[in-house]
Amino acid sequence: MAVSISRRKISEAINGYLFVSPWLIIFTIFSIVSLLYAVYLSFTSYNLLKPPQWWGLDGYRRVFDDDLFLTKALPNTFKYVIIVVPLQTILSLVLAFAMDQKLRFRRLFRTVFYLPSVTSSVVISLIFIWIFAPQGIFNQITRLSINWLDDPRTAFYVIMGMNIFTTSGTLMLIFLAGLQDISPSIYEAAQIDGANAVQTFFYITIPMLRPVIFFVVTVGVIGCFQVFDQIFVMTAGGPLDSTTTITYLIYKWAFRDTTIKMGQASALAVVLTLIILAVTVLQRRMIEGSGSMAER
């Protein structure tokens, strides 16, 4: 009896590993080994031609001595996150709230709003380059003559605006699901207590949505810190490095510069990961600290 049970246990364990192994092998290589590998590379000098040379913290020192990082990539990235995350969150919340009213054509609106989100980042970037060209449609409609993407004062804002535009559809759907999860009886209770629409929104809807807001902001922060595709396609970091972000700089150091700096780029990637981690934790504290409703 005992023998057969332990034999069954062993065969279950073998089955378990057989079931997870296809995923586990690839996951181990490209997530776990990759992460350790990145940390190792960040302590080396590596240009693809010779095997990596250990140089301790030199890579990190070079990152923090680099002008392009200190004066462009770092402030640009924070500026991008600080502007894009709140705007895309508020915008998608407003859209979801409007959508949650008992209005007609809701399904049509929902479908249409999601369109910019299904379009690939490259395609939407190519379209925006053309719309915001000097003789492009935007200037034609507004009768302006600004060279949007070649002007360091405007290029980054066009990219920000585009990304707020494209992500709002997805985030709106997440908020909409959250809004529909709020039980109608809570609203009824508020109505009986005489709360008006504005009060209901700020004292019922927002607190009830806090977990969803936390999720949307977290996803937004992690995504915005890593913005790359749109910058690569639309401006390649220019004009005058005004759109160079940390992820673009990592790419530039590791793959584009004439002298490849994989070690230094890895050091920057580790720094970026730590920044994202710190901001996520901080923001979690802020959202949870601001009210007692969040129970997660």
Binding site: E12, A13, N15, G16, Y17, F19, V20, P22, W23, L24, I26, F27, I29, F30, S31, I32, S34, L35, Y37, A38, P51, A98, Q101, L103, V112, F113, Y114, L115, P116, V118, T119, S120, V122, V123, L126, W130, I131, G169, L173, A177, D181, P211, V212, F215, V216, I222, Q226, D229, F232, V233, T247, I250, A254, F255, S266, A269, L272, T273, T280, R296
Partner: protein, 307 residues
């Protein structure tokens, strides 16, 4: 009595008026955003149907003069375009099939089978979901490429490669894409919430874990698998950064990489770029319309269940 009922009807009237204003504002917001959402794709369509020389010429609302020349260029003259479409289709389908199968298998094991180190592995999975993708970019590139040492390490007559040597091949794009933490997490949650009875009956009948999985579990989880498949396909189809690093020769490009490359090589042919953009957008749009409720479910579920 009468006074209060009178004032109440007054309140009602102003409440109705207020409600109308409120609804009006909401409609205005929704219609404004509808116009904005449709505009870029609409303009793209219009100008893809205008001559190349008219890429910046009004009218902007209607394709006059009308021509299909840009589409002819894509389909006939410039034969790399069809290749890119085929490459994109192949890569996206293979990634989707493998990822969905692997995620379902792993998710099932995490939900139902007891094996050593299960908890640890699942926690690693959860941690990796919080990890930004950029940090593994360079190592993944090196692993897919020649690795740390070109030509590998030689041990006598034996050479051990330090990487997969898959640069500039479709498999280099596919391989890291077939394992995904979120997919496994999603399937695990699904199987955990699923009643065990059906499987147990099948196990009693003598079909082992594998028979049960392929004959009972997979068919039951169709909806969930389709949701994951759509999410994966969309991601693979639109993926840019990873194929950009892996693929080198134009005939191996996927459509997004090809479009970006084409724009750089033939800057003056922007109408062709626009027509090509629609080739990238249209398939995913059709899939989206057909499977809309699965898309919406999958996105809605990302927010409410975890985070």
């Amino acid at each position: 009595m009468t006074v209060s009922s009178l004032s109440r009807s007054g309140v009602n009237q102003s409440a109705i008026l207020l409600d109308r204003i409120r609804k009006g504002i909401f409609y205005a917001i929704l219609i404004f955003w509808t116009v904005l959402s449709v505009a870029p794709l609409y303009f793209t369509l219009v100008f893809s149907l205008k001559p190349i020389a008219d890429a910046y010429t009004p009218p902007i609302w209607w394709p006059t003069p009308f021509t299909l020349a840009n589409y002819e260029t894509i389909l006939k003259t410039f034969d790399l375009f069809p290749r890119w479409v085929i490459n994109s289709v192949n890569i996206s389908i293979i990634v989707t099939l493998f990822r969905v199968l692997f995620c379902a298998m792993a998710g099932y094991a995490f939900a139902r089978i007891e094996f050593p180190l299960k908890k640890l592995l699942f926690n690693l999975l959860l941690i990796s979901m919080m990890m930004p993708g950029v940090v593994t970019l360079i190592p993944s590139f090196l692993i897919i490429g020649p690795g740390l040492i070109r030509g590998g390490i030689s041990l006598g007559s034996l050479t051990i490669p330090t990487g997969f040597n898959l640069i500039d091949t479709p498999w280099g794009v596919i391989l890291p894409g077939v394992a995904d933490a979120f997919g496994v997490f999603m399937m695990t949650q699904f199987y955990k919430s699923f009643p065990k009875e059906l499987e147990e009956a099948a196990m009693m009948d003598g079909s082992g874990r594998w028979g049960t999985f392929f004959r009972i579990v997979l068919p039951i989880s169709q909806t969930q698998l389709l949701t994951l498949a759509l999410l994966t396909f969309q991601g693979a189809w639109n993926n840019f950064m990873w194929p950009l690093l892996v693929l080198r020769s134009p005939e191996n490009f996927t459509l997004p990489i090809g479009l970006q490359w084409f724009r750089g090589e033939y800057y003056t042919l922007y109408s062709v770029v626009l027509a090509g953009s629609l080739f990238n957008t249209l398939p995913i749009l059709i899939i989206f319309f057909v499977f809309q409720r699965y898309f919406i479910r999958s996105i809605a579920s990302t927010g409410s269940k975890e985070g």
